[in-house]
């Protein structure tokens, strides 16, 4: 408990620096994209990360990379306070950063970009990354790229792909890395047998459920994938959705029947009970808002649960900032923008 006390306080201290309702209002009211960036730069915890960015010329990828650095910094700070078994859970955050940066480079390689030009878009923990990024961005082709990853767990996920370029392979590669992340999550969760983190484990297992349901829905509707392929990329270790459920869902061919079956998962029916256009457009945001409230509650818990909840919420905050900035670009009204944010930014009546 004494160890947790330090961690708990640290998390609260970090949380206090994140955006408030007032900040969100100001961002949404901002006259332009540049004004919104300027507001972030002058008034929020992100100023340190945005100092080299010119608000007038700010670019989405650039801002996203800058904002993500806060998550990495905070993760590194919190890792100091954790015992080694808990560190593993938190290392998911640094692994996620690794994978997202790898995705950026792989996409760059597939489209023939010079990887060195992508250097600023890469966000990773210098202390905990498993990848030698400086060497990796020197890679000139896929073979060399894979070779540079030897000795990291990512190599095994990429070595079976002989070439890169065709769109299909790219999706497979990205899904393959994502699946590795969730397999690792499943393993970490199964090692957490103690009661204290039970609620955290449940929330994270629900995140697996949500990923699976959205994947099956989309794979059927948009990619028209075969059951075997769908199941190859489905995730193990969910909370309410069993393997039998997944097997059954993957075999359904009729779209309406699938939707009816999906709605039967009462916890997650909120994803599917909307008109088709609304459903597709906001499905991911709805899943995230669902988890957002879960992690808000978990923030009141202690130890690693609170720490991880904070980092998840920070991730949602970053996504919201990006949504608002994108909203500014397309000149959406505050009401419209609220539909795209995870945090409830709806203006009060």
């Amino acid at each position: 408990m004494a160890q947790n006390a330090a961690l708990d306080t640290k998390v609260l201290a970090l949380k206090a620096k994140t955006l408030t309702k007032n900040d969100y209002d100001k961002l949404i009211e901002a006259d332009s994209l540049a004004d919104a960036v300027r507001y972030l730069k002058d008034n929020t915890v992100y100023s340190k990360y945005l100092k080299d960015i010119d608000p007038e010329k700010a670019h989405r990828d650039q801002i996203e990379a800058a904002l993500s650095k806060l998550t990495i910094d905070d993760t590194e700070k919190l890792l100091h306070y954790l015992k080694s078994s808990d560190k593993k859970l938190m290392s998911l955050i640094t692994m996620q950063a690794d994978i997202e940066s790898l995705d950026i480079l792989i996409r760059g390689l597939a489209t023939g970009k010079d990887l060195k030009s992508l250097k600023d878009s890469l966000v990773y923990s210098k202390t905990y990354t498993k990848v030698n990024w400086n060497r990796l961005i020197e890679a000139e082709d896929w073979e060399q790229f894979k070779n540079d990853l030897k000795g990291t767990p990512y190599y095994r996920r990429l070595e079976v792909f002989d070439t890169i370029g065709p769109k299909e392979d790219l999706l497979q590669i990205e899904k393959s890395l994502e699946r590795y992340y969730y397999d690792f999550l499943k393993k970490v969760l199964s090692d957490f047998s103690g009661k204290s983190e039970k609620k955290l484990v449940q929330a994270l297992r629900e995140s697996i459920d949500l990923e699976n349901l959205i994947w099956i829905y989309r794979a059927k509707k948009f990619y028209h994938l075969k059951p075997a392929t769908i199941l190859s990329y489905s995730l193990l270790g969910g909370r309410y959705v069993t393997q039998e459920d997944l097997n059954r869902l993957a075999m359904i061919t009729d779209e309406d029947e699938l939707l009816e079956e999906l709605k039967k998962f009462s916890q997650y029916s909120f994803l599917f009970e909307h008109e088709p256009e609304d459903r597709d457009l906001h499905m991911e945001r709805r899943a995230e808002r669902y988890q957002y409230y879960q992690f808000r509650k978990l923030l009141k818990e202690h130890g690693v649960t609170r720490a991880l909840a904070y980092l998840r919420l920070l991730n949602y905050e970053m996504k919201d900032i990006i949504s608002i900035i994108e909203g500014k670009r397309y000149e959406l009204s505050p009401d419209e923008m609220a539909a795209y944010t995870i945090y409830n930014t709806k203006p009060e009546e």
């Binding site: 996920r157 792909f161 497979q172 393959s176 397999d183 075997a228 199941l231 190859s232 489905s234």
Partner: protein
């Protein structure tokens, strides 16, 4: 005088002799390289015009600087490789090739021959290593199929089926099981790999090959590299054959390794030679960077100690056509300073260098510093036992080549001597009878003695200062300055007059008055020193003197009085630290008694001794250094010279920089 005189040596030699000359100079070592090109450009490198020098003179018109970094890199690469062959175990002994004629081409080609043979053998061993690895992989692959009693050829020859062996992670194996119903291949779990993955044999009808491949790829199915159609027998036979092959390869590898070992050891002497020769070529290349070259000649410049002129002659006399000129050092050449002290003082040169090397015209302060440093330290830190500990430690360090060890050993001896004077052994004052006094019992004598010795040291410092300044023709500072003759006499007069006035020494009243008159006169002289200098140099009296001068000079005089007083009293610290030393022991002894003596008391006293040796030893060293650098050096020493830098250290530095 402990500053060794140096002389500039200029050499013009035949181009063909350059390697041998450079090597001999390097081994001679006692020479500081000077950029010959710079010397020639500045007109200092001149040759008398006579027939003998004609060629050298002609060459002066079309010079190029030496050194070739390209070649040097090549040499260094070869040296590195050569070292690699012997795991860095070759010895650097330039003396061994003293009498060898260095021919760069032969050395390079000999080294290449050696390295080629070495490389070809290691390559072969590496190749066998790779073969071994692939054999091991195949053994692993077929060991999963041991239970299959049919020859593999039968499987591979199937017309409508394709056979594959590969592995999946546990999680993906789980997914594979989930999709079994929709798979159109035969999939057999045949075992687990050492990496913790599950191994599967997959037999697919060729019509469904595309589908199956996609599905397997989606699961990250990794083909086992050792599973190949080249092996046709039953898995058991294949493994048997491969094991036999593995043994053959291993014995071949061992044989080659043994051969390589023999080759290495039989060539070690030769390699050592080559290593030294290559290192010398690198050195020569660096030295050539300091030389200038014409079509036929090389030009070399360097500082050598005057005393070594004859030794150098014996080197240059080997080359019949060599022109060698020696040029005495003059201040405008800024000659380097080479310190030369006997074994007692030599380690203290380090302390002097910390402040600065004496310039060419200055007296070397090392002997005076050494004596006073030893005296002051012993005075403060007088203890027979602790001195012995310090002596042992110092000697050990000195043996390891650490100059500070030498200093420690010497001041330790002084500490032992004062230990006898104070009668102190490891802080114990009952074992020995003091020859002089016990610090705590006769405080006044101790402090006054310290100041008296301090005054003595200051007087010597004044003398040093006067000699240095007069020697450098600094009339104003030397004669009329506060640290010059006037300042010196003023200091002495104040001392004598003050002591006389206070009746410490018998002095007739008239002399006191005379002393006061002298003091006023000298103060006035120092106040107006610029005017006095002008008078001596027959210049207008007020030349270069502004209103500001009178004000600043007034404050300088004021400061001079202050510092005379503070410098003198500063030496009280020598006595005071002797008291601290004894006092600390008393504190620890009290602690030991409080602890009831016995084992605890002994432990406390051991700790006390360690504590005092380390902490107080360090503090006393620093206090002595302060007295030397501030109170004494401030009076007489500039230290703005540059140290003589022998060729070896210069080469080492440049070699490291490349």
């Amino acid at each position: 005088m402990a500053v060794e005189n140096v002389v500039m040596m200029n050499v013009v030699g035949n181009l063909t002799d350059v390697n041998k000359f450079a090597k001999d100079i390097f081994l001679f070592n006692d020479i500081q390289l000077v950029d010959a090109m710079g010397e020639i450009d500045s007109g200092r490198f001149t040759l008398p015009v006579d027939e003998k020098n004609l060629e050298g003179l002609l060459g002066l018109g079309s010079l190029v600087p030496g050194s070739n970094t390209q070649i040097q890199k090549k040499y260094e690469q070869m040296t590195k490789k050569l070292l690699g062959c012997y795991d860095g175990q070759l010895k650097y002994e330039p003396e061994t090739i003293k009498n060898v004629d260095l021919d760069a081409d032969t050395i390079v080609s000999d080294t290449e021959t050696f390295l080629d043979k070495f490389d070809s053998e290691t390559d072969e061993i590496e190749k066998i290593g790779e073969d071994l690895q692939s054999v091991d992989q195949s053994i692993e692959a077929y060991s999963y199929l041991k239970e299959l009693k049919e020859p593999m050829q039968k499987l591979f020859d199937m017309q409508f089926f394709k056979v594959e062996l590969g592995s999946l992670t546990k999680d993906n194996a789980q997914r594979l099981k989930n999709i079994y119903p929709s798979i159109t291949s035969v999939i057999l779990h045949v075992g687990d790999s050492p990496e913790g993955e599950e191994v599967f044999l997959v037999i697919t009808e060729k019509d469904f090959e595309y589908e199956t491949d996609r599905m397997l790829k989606a699961l990250n199915f990794k083909l086992l590299p050792g599973f190949s159609k080249d092996f046709k027998g039953t898995p058991e036979q294949i493994i048997e054959d491969l094991t036999k092959k593995e043994k053959e390869l291993e014995s071949k590898k061992e044989k080659l390794q043994a051969e390589l070992k023999v080759y290495r050891s039989s060539n070690e002497e030769n390699a050592n030679y080559l290593y030294n020769e290559l290192s010398m070529l690198t050195t020569i290349n660096i030295m050539e960077g300091y030389m200038a070259f014409s079509d036929k000649n090389f030009y070399f410049s360097g500082w050598i100690p005057v005393k070594k002129e004859d030794t150098i002659r014996t080197i240059t006399d080997q080359f019949p056509d060599m022109i060698v000129l020696f040029k005495a050092a003059t201040p405008d050449l800024k000659p380097p300073t080479k310190l030369k002290n006997n074994w007692l003082f030599r380690p203290f040169e380090e302390l002097v260098k910390m402040y600065g090397v004496p310039n060419y015209k200055e007296l070397d302060p090392t002997p005076f510093l050494s004596l006073t440093y030893m005296f002051c330290f012993g005075f403060m830190f007088g203890d027979v036992g602790q001195g012995l500990v310090l002596l042992l430690g110092g000697l050990l360090l000195e043996r390891k080549g650490n100059q500070l060890g030498g200093i420690a050993a010497r001041i330790a001896v002084s500490s032992i001597i004062f230990g006898f004077l104070y009668g102190s052994v490891f802080g114990n004052e009952t074992l020995l009878h003091p020859i002089w006094l016990r610090p705590m019992e006769d405080t006044n004598t101790l402090l006054i003695t310290a100041v008296i010795f301090g005054v003595g040291m200051l007087i010597v410092a004044y003398i040093y200062g006067v000699i240095n300044k007069v020697h450098q023709h600094q009339i104003e500072q030397g004669y009329f300055g506060k640290n010059g003759i006037s300042g010196f006499i003023l200091y002495l007069t104040i001392l004598v007059t003050a002591l006389g006035a206070m009746k410490y020494i018998p002095l007739p009243g008239g002399l006191v008055t005379a002393g006061i008159c002298i003091i006023v006169g000298l103060t006035l002289l120092i106040y107006l020193q610029a005017m006095a200098t002008n008078a001596v140099e027959h210049k207008p009296l007020t030349k270069g003197i502004t209103g500001e001068y009178y004000v600043s000079s007034f404050f300088e005089c004021f400061e001079m009085y202050l510092s005379m007083l503070s410098n003198t009293l500063s030496f009280i610290r020598v006595g005071a630290f002797a008291l601290t030393h004894a006092g600390m022991f008393m504190a620890f002894q009290t602690l030991a008694q409080l602890a009831g003596g016995g084992v605890a008391g002994v432990i406390i006293m051991i700790f006390a001794n360690i504590f005092i040796i380390v902490l107080e030893g360090l503090i006393d060293c620093i206090q002595c250094l302060r007295l030397e650098f501030y109170e004494l050096f401030g009076k007489y020493y500039e230290g703005d010279g540059r140290a003589f830098d022998p060729v070896t250290s210069e080469v080492r530095r440049l070699d490291a920089a490349l």
